[in-house]
Amino acid sequence: MSEFLFKPFAEMTAADYEAVGFRSGLEIHQQVLTEKKLFCRCPAGRYSREYDAEILRHMRPTLSELGEYDGTALMEFKTKKEIIYRINRETVCTYEMDDTPPFMMDETALDIALGIAMLYDLNLVDELHIARKQYLDGSIPTGFQRTTIVGVNGWIPYKDRRVSIVQLGLEEDACREVSDVGHRRTYITDRLGMPLIETVTGPDMRTPDEVAEVAQICRRLVRSTGRVRTGIGAAREDVNVSVTGGTRVEIKGVPRIPRIPLLVHHEAMRQWNLLRLRAELHRRGVTPEAFRSETEDVTRVLQKTSYLPVRDALEAGETANCVVLRGFRDLLNWQTQTNTRFSREISDRVRVVACLTRLPNIVHSDSSSETLSSAEWLAVRKAVRASKDDTLVVVWGGAEDVRTGSQEIAIRAKEATVGIPSETRQALRDGTNGFERILPGPDRMYPDTDLPPIKVTEERLARIREKLPVPIWTHEAWYAELGVPADVVQPLAVSAHAGLFEELVREWKIDPVAASVALVQFMKRIRRKGLDAGRLDERTLRGIFTLLRDKKITREGVYALMEKAARGEALPAAGALPPAPSGEEIEAEVGRSLGRIGGMSLHNPEKKGHVLMGLVMPALRGRVEGAAVAPRVAAAAAGRI
């Protein structure tokens, strides 16, 4: 591997990422807008933290095709978690509780998924087969997610290339975690079972920024259908990252796209630094074959320690173990991410797998912070017969958890000699990531024997295709050609009024700039004023644009009427509109407004012209183009009248 060293995020260039062989892909989870959940008839989208009942379950791993337990499955089994589900009877029925078999799939959800699959140009499936994707963390009470593939092998245009869309699935959403302390994990079930599409891109992104940009394109594409949910948690990204010599690692559940680049950068950095750590270990002769570690009970040695976390535990009758990692001296301080060291990888594992959730949960001899006294370290070192080349890791807690924790410490340390473990990692607030669980293998897919396959007929596809929006990139290119302002192009493409815009421009021959500004910026302004933009339905907007087309009002007049309509006032009939003001009328209004300004004290006298314009135009109520007024206002502001 190259000698490249990661720089701070702001200083990294595309060439730097290329040097480490950065590759990244997305799994985008987007809730679709349906009334009901996917496999039962509970209402979708009703969130509440209140609950009426609780149930308790455990998850057991089931066997894979090769008769092996999946790595994740085994890890979850080691954790021996009690899973508590909180049930609100308004949002959950016996299906989500796994006490009733599934009902037939929600047809609307399937239509929406098929429509979006068409936008991605995916090869659609003729017959859907429902699969069970196993999740043993308890996030779904069945222990698996019902999921189905709708289409494969599509693409989206990005820069001068295509980003491949591997597949699009339709599946049920999982529970929301409430807490995870010790051996008990608690979930609220309101979100469980809501329909969700999962779009998987190829590992085609070459820099962290590209990942976010592609996520934005996908987000805008699905939103352009108007049939997906928006708001917090409605869309979540999993990001897969690898570097040359690394492993595919998945960062789970990124709730906001702007957070992606830093997270992805840190994961690439972590993998790169773990590969450098491996090189250092191998240089010291610590290879997978040569790796050695031993565990000793050091409860008695540390019985009198003044280090509080350990003392409290031992006084409460718990135990402490020391794991000696041969030849690891100083390596637990090896940097992995910004402000994050290799010791964190070990502590995370101990926390998740051994359920030792009180932090700190380990101390180690490479640490320079005050933990055990040097005399105690010496005693421990003697007890485990460690040399100065070794690192000691002490873990404490309930006897069984300490046993599991000790094993995990050795397992994770040994993995460092091999490379980068396949993991899913959680996105942390500061842009770094922490261990979540072992990455599940492909062996966790089972056919769902509870539901028959579903045929996707040509008739159904034709019906869906008819109502499909044109892909946003097609729209966006056309808007740019028309001269639509750059900041309006993207919002317009995903706006519910994109269709109206097209009609106004193509058929009514309305100026694209005027139409786009009205449909995007004026709408935004009305919303900001707290007015009811919902009153501006397509019929009302057509009424206003009719007046513009017939030259009854000017471009400026459009906003005045939109605001009027948003206030619930009736629009004037075309004939009832006053005629355009005469030159004299304009002069008179300028004079009147000038008089009003006279009474004001202006902060910035140079802006006098702007202020004057702002008074004159509304007074004329959009009956005149600004261009006709501007020269008179300028003259007045300059004191020429």
């Binding site: 149930i55 379950r57 009733t100 090869n123 003729d126 087969h129 189905t148 092998n153 396959p453």
Partner: protein, 462 residues
């Protein structure tokens, strides 16, 4: 499974198309259809599925179906046949632990899903069970025997008799307890019939199944198996019992008397309930807690009475208003020798049935009345209807559950043709099938919505 390189499960159009491309099941293929190109492995097709689609397992593990007639090209890259095998680990033997025999009849307690085909593969040898539920080795030394592999709805006299005989054999050999794996749908029928066929067992006979098959991570199978094996190995209750979840939560199981238990929900884990009484005991992984003390105790001898009599020509009739006499007449005409009626309320049917009941009486057909309310006793003196029917030879069967009365009548008629003797057998409680009294907590169906019930279920994990 299609180890012979066939087109397993395919028929009609799909079969024709696959044959035309020479693409057999397990072929690793690239298929081009009118909708695009797809890469994966051709899977066997379920024989109940339509003859128009080909199933392909994608690299991602997902399955999809492709319309056979739209297939334009198939490139075959090779073959990847699945060999699904449950790992066997030798069940550890510990001379200090009791010997428990697990008899298998089928059902989901002991099965695994073949993830490629969706077919269910039985996991049953001690080694397979140990591989799946290693906790069993902490409880007992387990031996298993597969009696047959049928879904519970296909259990019948032949299986009842074979099971009862197998139980007798095992008791003679000196096992400390017997567990019977059974599908849940008709578990209470089998529990009842075994309660009659196996009498005075010196050891526990525990029936167990699962409501969520064992191929699911949330399955109740493992915990049910642990509970039942613990009961068989350690409890002092020498009766035929059903051991299934108490609440839907993974907390404890209930031991129900074989003649008073019934499946009460089509899919809940806690579907089995003792009707008109309370269960014998609760069982968790830690302990067995008796809820009553009138059960038969474990003995050290090897004595047991096995009586496998069974008359097949017995039927159960669920009465409904407007029932016509031809229903009963057709049973008479077809040579049935016993009829159990599940009547309305205290045990009633309408007048138009009387002539048919009279015919039963004349033909010497045994007719017994039970209640479709399930809870409560038959009482045929309260109304004239009841008295009229008794005149017609209909015999009230107290609080025997309809299904229990059905198997008991079959068992009684299997022993004798003398209707008086049949009556004596029917009305003499043998295994708690009728009780002298219904305790006040024997009928508890909580009504959701009522504040105190809501408070209860919000505080107790049910």
């Amino acid at each position: 499974m299609a180890g012979d390189g066939s087109y397993k499960g395919y028929r009609g159009e799909a079969l024709e198309v696959l044959k035309s491309f020479g693409a057999m099941v397990w072929s690793d293929v690239e298929i081009t259809t009118a909708r695009g190109t797809y890469t994966g492995i051709i899977l066997p097709r379920s024989e109940t599925a339509d003859p128009f689609h080909v199933v392909v397992k994608l690299r991602s593990g997902y399955n999809i179906g492709l319309l056979a007639r739209s297939i334009q090209a198939v490139t075959i890259h090779g073959r990847k046949e699945a060999h699904y095998k449950i790992p066997e680990k030798e069940f550890p033997f510990d001379p200090a632990r009791p010997k428990v025999k697990l008899l298998g009849t089928g059902g989901t307690i002991a099965s695994r899903l073949d993830y490629r085909t969706g077919a269910v593969i039985p996991a049953f040898s001690p080694g397979e069970l140990y591989g799946s539920v290693p906790e069993l080795a902490d409880i007992c030394n387990l031996e298993t025997e597969k009696l047959f592999g049928v879904f519970s709805e296909n259990m019948g006299p032949e299986q009842y008799i074979a099971t009862a005989r197998a139980i007798g054999r095992e008791i003679e050999k000196g096992v400390q307890g017997i567990v019977i794996g059974h599908g849940t749908d008709t578990m209470h029928h089998t529990a009842a019939v075994l309660s009659f066929m196996v009498q005075d067992s010196p050891v526990p006979v525990v029936m167990v199944g699962s409501q969520r098959s064992s191929d699911r991570p949330s399955s109740d199978a493992a915990l049910n198996l642990m509970h039942s094996v613990k009961t068989a190995a350690e409890s002092d209750i020498a009766e035929v019992m059903v051991c299934m979840f108490g609440p839907t939560s993974d907390t404890y199981g209930l031991l129900h008397r074989g003649t008073r238990v019934r499946k009460m929900h089509s899919s809940y884990r806690s579907t089995f309930r003792t009707i008109g009484d309370i269960p014998i005991a609760m069982v968790s992984r830690e302990k067995i807690t008796p809820l009553r003390h009138d059960y038969k105790r474990r003995r050290t001898d090897r004595g047991v009475k096995i009586n496998t009599a069974f008359e097949e020509m017995v039927s159960i009739v669920y009465y409904y208003p407007n029932m016509k006499p031809d229903i009963i007449d057709s049973l008479v005409d077809n040579g049935y020798r016993g009829i159990v009626i599940a009547g309305t309320g205290l045990g009633h049917v309408n007048k138009p049935l009387y002539p048919a009941l009279k015919r039963c009486q004349e033909k010497g057909i045994a007719v017994y009345m039970t209640v479709q309310t399930l809870w409560g006793y038959v009482q045929m003196y309260v109304y004239d209807t009841g008295r009229d029917m008794m005149e017609l030879g209909v015999i009230p069967a107290a609080n025997m559950l309809p299904e229990v009365a059905y198997v008991k009548l079959a068992w009684a008629l299997g022993q004798t043709r003398d209707l008086e003797e049949v009556r004596r057998i029917m009305l003499t409680p043998i295994a708690g099938e009728t009780t002298e009294r219904e305790p006040s907590n024997g009928y508890l169906i909580f009504q959701g919505g009522i504040p105190e019930v809501e408070e209860f279920i919000s505080t107790i994990r049910k």
